[in-house]
């Protein structure tokens, strides 16, 4: 049976925990709105890009002169996994769900006899993957100093990827991130970026026949690296929104749990106090009776 003083301390500490989680939830809510706006602002570009690239890829893709970023190296030996997680914890299952997906994919590839290389973006994923896959790490991108994710960040990741691809370091690259669905639901997603794959947007089949200036191949060669950067950027933004959403709901739960705990502890505190008073009274009364 804890003493009254212990209980009081306990209640005090849970109360300050609740204050912290409540504050974190509100901060996450504000950041979520901003992250969602950023993700929405980036959408028109990504959609157009995808549509144009899909059209180009369809017309050039079959030929022998197709760029390697589109056609691939012809091999399927070395896989690059780009695992994007958050820099901070306390966001529920956000980091773990991405890592779980990446880990499953890595295990599957290794079992199939392929070489796996891993680039981690964000500290948390690196920590979680370190135990099993530290030998496979080739690079780490630290975004902890970055306040607002910009296209530049995505571009430097994409540039690094393409540089490695050109030097024959890998054949296939896949990015792992959480797609933002809603505050309570984020979907861990694996997306292949090299060789490029495009979801054929509906209605593009009958698009007008475009003139290309310079040639189709040249435009495609120019656009493919941008396409990779755009996909990475979209993933980073989706991830940013997902992280805040996950943190918001995790902190909301934590706040509610803290509230429940405070109620329970307060009842226990009141009961013990009453028990102590009753005890004292009994002692006094029985003392008086004895006289």
């Amino acid at each position: 049976m804890p003493s009254l003083k212990d209980l009081k301390n306990r209640i005090g500490s849970v109360k300050s925990t609740r204050k912290i989680t409540k504050a974190m939830q509100m901060v996450a809510a504000a950041k979520l709105r901003r992250a969602q706006e950023a993700a929405e602002a980036a959408r028109p570009y990504a959609e157009r890009m995808n549509a144009v690239m899909a059209g180009l890829a369809a017309s050039v893709g079959g030929s022998d002169s197709a760029p390697r970023l589109l056609a691939g190296t012809g091999a399927d030996k070395t896989h690059m996994l780009v695992v994007m997680t958050a820099e901070r914890g306390l966001c529920g299952g956000f980091n773990s769900s991405i890592v779980r997906l990446a880990r499953a994919k890595a295990a599957e590839l290794i079992a199939a006899g392929k070489t796996v290389k891993i680039i981690t973006v964000g500290k948390k994923g690196r920590e979680q993957l370190k135990r099993d896959y530290a030998d496979h790490f080739v690079a780490h991108v630290d975004l902890s100093e970055v306040k607002k994710i910009g296209y530049d960040n995505a571009q430097s990741i994409a540039r690094d990827l393409i540089h490695r691809f050109d030097h024959g370091e890998f054949d296939v690259a896949t990015i792992f991130f959480n797609r933002f669905q809603s505050v309570i639901s984020q979907i861990p997603t694996a997306q292949q970026v090299i060789p490029a794959k495009f979801e054929q947007a509906e209605g593009t089949g009958s698009a007008a026949l475009y003139d290309y200036e310079p040639s189709e191949e040249e435009i495609l060669a120019d656009l493919l690296p941008r396409g990779v950067a755009t996909q990475v950027f979209t993933a980073l933004l989706e991830n940013g929104a997902s992280e805040q959403g996950a943190r918001m709901s995790a902190m909301d739960n934590a706040t509610r749990n803290a509230g429940d705990m405070i109620d329970k502890l307060t009842i226990q505190f009141n009961r013990s106090r009453q028990a102590a008073i009753t005890n004292e009274l009994i002692e006094i009364i029985s003392g008086a009776e004895a006289l």
């Binding site: 980036a42 570009y45 007008a208 026949l209 003139d211 310079p214 435009i219 656009l223 755009t230």
Partner: protein, 132 residues
């Protein structure tokens, strides 16, 4: 013939403009071109330069650095890698871009050397055109 067309200017981070335009002057990779309503469908890459949009409200200039433009009879959309209203560009930003491009040109392999040098020259021209 319609006298205006839908024009969109988007960069990866935001949509800069979405207006009914009478004509759009685009710095294409192979030379400047002007898109007007009912232009034949065309996709072209951009070089760094100034993009001018003429609409009913007058004309607006944007500085763009690379990207591409998609023009069809109904409208034009420009997907610029980096774009901003002409007045917002600062000399420091341009200098940073130029020094980045110069560094890259230095590292570029032989076959990409010309293109990289041209990019630097285009950026310098753009800077001069902006009066910075």
């Amino acid at each position: 013939m319609a006298d205006t067309m839908q024009f969109d200017l988007v960069s990866p981070e935001r949509r800069l403009a979405s207006v009914q335009a009478r004509e759009v002057r685009i710095p294409g990779a192979d030379g400047d071109l002007t898109a007007m309503p009912d232009h034949s469908p065309l996709i072209t890459t951009l070089r760094p330069g100034i993009l001018t949009v003429v609409s009913a409200e007058g004309s607006v200039d944007y500085a763009v650095t690379g990207g591409f433009a998609e023009i069809s009879a109904a409208g034009a959309s420009v997907l610029a890698e980096r774009a901003m209203p002409k007045a917002e560009v600062t000399a420091a930003e341009m200098d940073a871009l130029i020094s980045d491009a110069t560094a890259e040109a230095g590292e570029a392999p032989a076959e990409g050397k010309d293109a990289a040098m041209k990019l630097v020259a285009d950026l310098q021209t753009l800077k001069a055109a902006l009066g910075l």
